[in-house]
């Protein structure tokens, strides 16, 4: 039987506010346990929440970026359950009236086609603390520093049909939130966490199969692997005559498998009801217009512009727009050099290669966008040739000069275009290579083209790479042919 996979994602994005969603405690990562858990975060008797305006603004910016309806009135609800990392015995969330309504995200697949994934809604909520399971005499330690950190939970429709689509969607969300600057998107530190709903159904069937929810799949790679495993598990199960049960599963990256989290888990009853300590959040059109006016150009728009206005290939446009840092680097380099294709080649070629080798992100690049742009300028105006340009790049990368011009000057890499000087070098090479000249003369005419390479190499060597290769080629050919 042919099976179809159906995937929906719930992505929790930690918003990059300074203070918590309902208190004035810091959200900084990595502080001493419980040193950033204030009375409100701890749920001490009598404390009350007050909503952080920046958390609201960030949620709205996301909503605008995915073309969603922003709720004029949104309401916080309490989700009631007991857990030691949940100090109040309820999580303040938005169940019935979320701040961001239906929207959509465009994802780009490997074959450069695009697909729209619908967003069901996105809501604000508070993060929980952390349980530390190191040994405290058989006890668990609770750190509530993270409790109250604002989260935006983005819930997709079950629109994805493969693990690749799910990963592309997650990347698209990552790219949007980092473009907007509403999250650092750091998956390793838990700034972005993902729950995956997976089900399978016979191809052509309309109704969905029973889904499993895979919790805390926290990297792009794990999303693909977890789904791949889960799909195979479900298909095997059904084909063996079993049925999929609706349950929560955990992905184990060590073993590359998902497993049921709580086999005897009782059905939860969270008893959602509107939080009486918070009032309805009402947003007016002027506020939305104000935030809309502040939106940066988003990845999809950039990709479009790179491709159609700058004439880049679909692939280049997609790679260069994937992260805001990358796009901004490219745009600055382009602004300086004025040639989009050259700038794109350099960013994706020499620069990306060097960054990958040293495992650096583009924001930590030792070569700035301006420096790279200036380097390209010198290639375009024939001051240096391509080979020398790579040397210049390496020199700037290693701190041997502040600018392309300085390195060209100090290393004497300026291209030699004086034909007199080049001719003198050619004459010398011909004089020093009688055997090769004889071979050239005796060769079939169609083979001579290849043989000229030797002489070019010798001339370039003599010029320490600075001679203009096109000139060398032309002049050499003339001189050698004159010897025939």
């Amino acid at each position: 039987m042919q099976w179809e996979t159906v995937i929906g994602l719930e992505v929790h994005v930690q918003l990059a506010t300074h203070s918590k969603i309902f208190s004035g405690a810091s959200t900084a990562f990595g502080a001493e346990p419980n040193s950033q858990a204030c009375a409100v975060d701890l749920g001490l008797p009598g404390v009350l929440p007050v909503l952080n305006e920046q958390a609201v603004a960030m949620a709205v910016q996301f909503g605008l970026a995915v073309h969603a309806d922003i709720a004029e009135v949104s309401v916080f609800d309490r989700k009631n359950y007991f857990y030691p990392d949940l100090p109040k015995g309820y999580q303040t969330s938005q169940m019935y009236h979320p701040i961001v309504g239906p929207g959509e995200v465009e994802i780009t697949l490997d074959d450069d086609t695009t697909k729209r994934i619908r967003i069901h809604h996105a809501h604000l909520e508070e993060d929980a603390g952390k349980s530390l399971h190191e040994d405290f005499h058989g006890m668990t330690g609770i750190d509530l520093n993270r409790a109250g950190t604002p989260l935006l939970e983005i819930v997709s429709e079950p629109d994805m049909r493969s693990a690749k689509e799910a990963a592309a969607y997650l990347k698209a969300i990552h790219s949007i939130v980092t473009y907007l600057g509403i999250s650092d998107g750091n998956m390793a530190e838990g700034s972005m966490r993902c729950d995956v709903n997976v089900s399978v159904r016979p191809k052509g069937q309309e109704t969905f199969g029973t889904r499993a929810e895979i919790k805390n799949v926290n990297s792009f790679r794990f999303v693909e692997r977890a789904i791949a495993f889960e799909v195979e598990r479900q298909i095997e199960l059904i084909e063996d005559g079993g049925t999929v049960v609706q349950e929560t599963r955990l992905f184990d990256p060590e073993r590359d498998e998902t497993r049921s989290m709580r086999t005897k888990e009782e059905a939860n009853d969270y008893r959602y009801f509107p939080c009486p300590d918070l009032l309805p959040v009402v947003l007016d059109q002027a506020y939305l217009d104000h935030l809309r006016g502040q939106l940066p150009e988003l990845p999809a728009d950039k990709r479009e512009r790179f491709q159609h206005e700058l004439g880049l290939s679909a692939y280049d446009a997609s790679v260069l727009s994937a992260s805001r840092d990358m796009a901004e680097f490219f745009e600055e380099a382009h602004r300086v050099c004025g040639d989009a294709k050259q700038a794109a080649n350099w960013v994706q070629g020499e620069l990306s290669g060097a960054l990958n080798r040293e495992n650096l992100s583009i924001s930590d690049s030792p070569v700035s966008a301006k420096q790279l742009g200036e380097l390209v300028v010198r290639v375009l105006d024939d001051t240096i040739n391509g080979k020398a340009a790579k040397q210049v790049f390496q020199a700037i990368w290693h701190g041997e000069g502040d600018s392309a011009d300085a390195v060209i000057e100090s290393k004497g890499l300026k291209q030699v275009t004086d034909s007199g000087a080049i001719e003198a070098m050619i004459d010398q090479v011909i004089a020093d290579s009688p055997a090769q000249v004889a071979q050239y003369r005796d060769a079939e005419p169609e083979k001579r083209g290849k043989m000229i390479g030797y002489f070019v190499g010798q001339v370039m060597k003599a010029s320490r790479g600075t001679a203009n290769p096109q000139q060398v080629n032309g002049l050499l050919k003339d001189k050698l042919d004159a010897l025939l």
Partner: protein, 95 residues
């Protein structure tokens, strides 16, 4: 809506209250009477009436995103039953 023993036990579990069999039957009796009283609500015509969550028709005020709290861990943990190295301790949580 008749209240059954299972309802009370389920509520007690959700609310994390240890309830003995004897207490459970007392609670069933008390809660049944209370809910019978509450059931008078069903006779009110509320067609077209929207629920009222707050007595005033006010809207949420927003707080500037500023860090205003400093570390008061020692102050707050003085009233804690069990702490070590700044962490609150609970019986081992099995994930």
């Amino acid at each position: 809506m008749a209240l059954e023993d299972s309802h009370v036990r389920r509520a007690a579990h959700l609310a994390r209250l240890a309830v003995s069999d004897e207490q459970a039957s007392d609670f069933v009796e008390d809660l049944s009477r209370i809910l019978d009283m509450v059931d008078q609500l069903q006779s009110v015509n509320t067609d077209g009436v929207s629920p009222l969550a707050h007595p005033l028709d006010a809207t949420q005020r927003l707080r500037a995103d500023e860090v205003t709290e400093s570390n008061q861990r020692d102050n707050f943990q003085r009233c804690a039953p069990a702490v070590e190295n700044g962490l609150y301790l609970v019986p081992r949580v099995v994930e």
